[in-house]
């Protein structure tokens, strides 16, 4: 499977919410510039795992991890790692589109502005670039200073992706990015994921098995906090080696 370099890696990772062990001894490596999908029934730990990859769980009381998560070989839970720097490298898109209640422009440049970038020309250029990347530019270029909340759900989600791209991360985490969208918007996002993997390492959590099959190169199946099986998407979907994977994929439970 070593076609590409390894971008992200978890080694013997355990995660706890208080006394509850949500992730059990996860070891997995994610290829650079490829799409890795996490599948599994609700509560299996796939979203928890995704959120440990950019430390979004830090603010949850009682959450802690054991083991290592390595980004380009460096442990992201190391004391010397600054979490804001990490999140510039590892962007995230959420389940429900969550544009800020501000203008479209303000949404896209938010990540740059909080880094202290004020140059207007630079910000406008960056906004156009990321909106073009998400194929949103033509749709919104005349209403950049209108509220982002007036956009449709699918447009909002592409705006959220553009917002994440604007700070030039190398990894993008997506937590069920299309579960709140209609089929046409979903197709657009999937197309986008396919294009983005030329430049970015993408990790996507999905409940939609067909989606995992369509967009991902590698698939990981989680169950009850454990990583049951991980491999090429084709292999996982056609000849899984574990019975539970087989049963989940064929819809016998989950």
């Amino acid at each position: 499977m070593a076609k590409n370099n390894i971008k992200l890696e978890a080694k013997n990772l355990n995660a706890y919410y208080g006394d509850f062990k949500a992730l059990k001894d996860i070891t997995i490596s994610m290829e650079e510039k490829a799409v890795t999908a996490f599948i599994g029934p609700s509560g299996c730990g796939k979203s928890t795992f995704l959120r440990t990859l950019n430390r979004m769980n830090d603010y949850i009381d009682g959450f802690r991890t054991e083991g290592d998560i390595l980004l380009d070989g460096k442990d992201i839970y190391d004391k010397n790692i600054r979490v804001d720097e990490l999140r510039k490298e590892v962007g995230m898109v959420f389940q429900k589109p969550n544009p800020f209640p501000k203008t479209i422009f303000e949404n896209v440049v938010y990540g740059l502005k909080i880094q202290g970038i004020k140059n207007k020309a630079h910000l406008e250029e960056a906004a156009e670039k990321s909106l073009r990347q998400t194929a949103l530019w033509e749709e919104v270029k005349d209403k950049m200073h209108k509220s982002a909340l007036a956009l449709s759900g699918g447009q909002q989600q592409r705006l959220c992706i553009a917002r994440a791209l604007a700070i030039s991360p190398s990894v993008i985490l997506m937590d069920e990015p299309t579960s709140a969208l209609d089929p046409i918007s979903t197709a657009k996002i999937e197309e986008l994921i396919y294009e983005l993997k030329n430049d970015y390492t993408i990790v996507i959590v999905t409940h939609n098995m067909q989606q995992a099959g369509r967009v991902s190169d590698n698939t990981a199946f989680f169950y009850m906090g454990e990583l049951i099986e991980f491999g090429k998407t084709k292999t996982i979907f056609t000849s899984p080696s574990n019975d539970r994977t087989q049963n989940y994929i064929t819809g016998r439970f989950g």
């Binding site: 009381d61 959420f94 990540g111 994440a164």
Partner: protein, 285 residues
Amino acid sequence: MTNSDKNRLKDKAFQVFGIFCTLIGLVVLAVFLIDILIKGLGRIDWEFLTSLPSRRAARAGILTAWAGTLWILVLTTIIAFPLGVSAGVYLEEYARKNRLSNFLEINISNLAGVPSIIYGLLGMEIFVRQMGLGGSLLSGALTLSLLILPIIIVTTREAIKAVPGSIRDGSYALGASKWQTVWNQVLPASFGGILTGIILALSRAVGEAAPLIVIGALAYVPFIPSSPLDEFTVLPIQIFNWTSRPQEAFLINAAAAIIMLLFITFLLNGIAVYLRNKQQKKIKW
């Protein structure tokens, strides 16, 4: 009579009783307002608003009283606004949910129920005596700030709580620090609610007489305060003073002053309602 007839009768009876209960409060308030308006409205003119207090009712005005009320309003806002909002933000966004923060929360809610005269006594001991500020505007504003802080903290927290977590997630995920998230996302989104709470708290402070009397605000102040360390009076104290005199003419003065005080209070409440509606229209989650 069948059972269903009985039920219908009971239903009807309760409706009539309910209307009666609702009206009692309104009717009493209306009678009071009409009485005040009849007595006092004729007394309000430019001279009344711009005259200094006097022993003779016909020459007495409320200039010093409303000037004092305005001073108190501004000073209390300057003191209570940053303190209350910061405390609310800290408790809601920063404090870990443990025993200590639980204890703080319960006590802040309790403080909101403490009678205002107790705050007056506290203010007298701390600000007037210990800090040596005397019966000044500053002592009064500090005392009233203590009084309304719990209200501001509680409403700030409610307003912040109403901002969805997904907005915070979005901000953090783009590399924002906690402070950047609070400043750029949480506060702008909840500002309408916070402002509404502050204005309602202020309109309560404007009507207080008891704590200010305790710290030594006077009814007779023959000058407009020019600095926070000056002595002062406020409308409620002037009203209290006038209503305790036997002469009819002073009662009419009191009625006129009450109209002015009600006007200020209603104005503040009106602004609060306006801001809240505007905010609700602006942001739809």
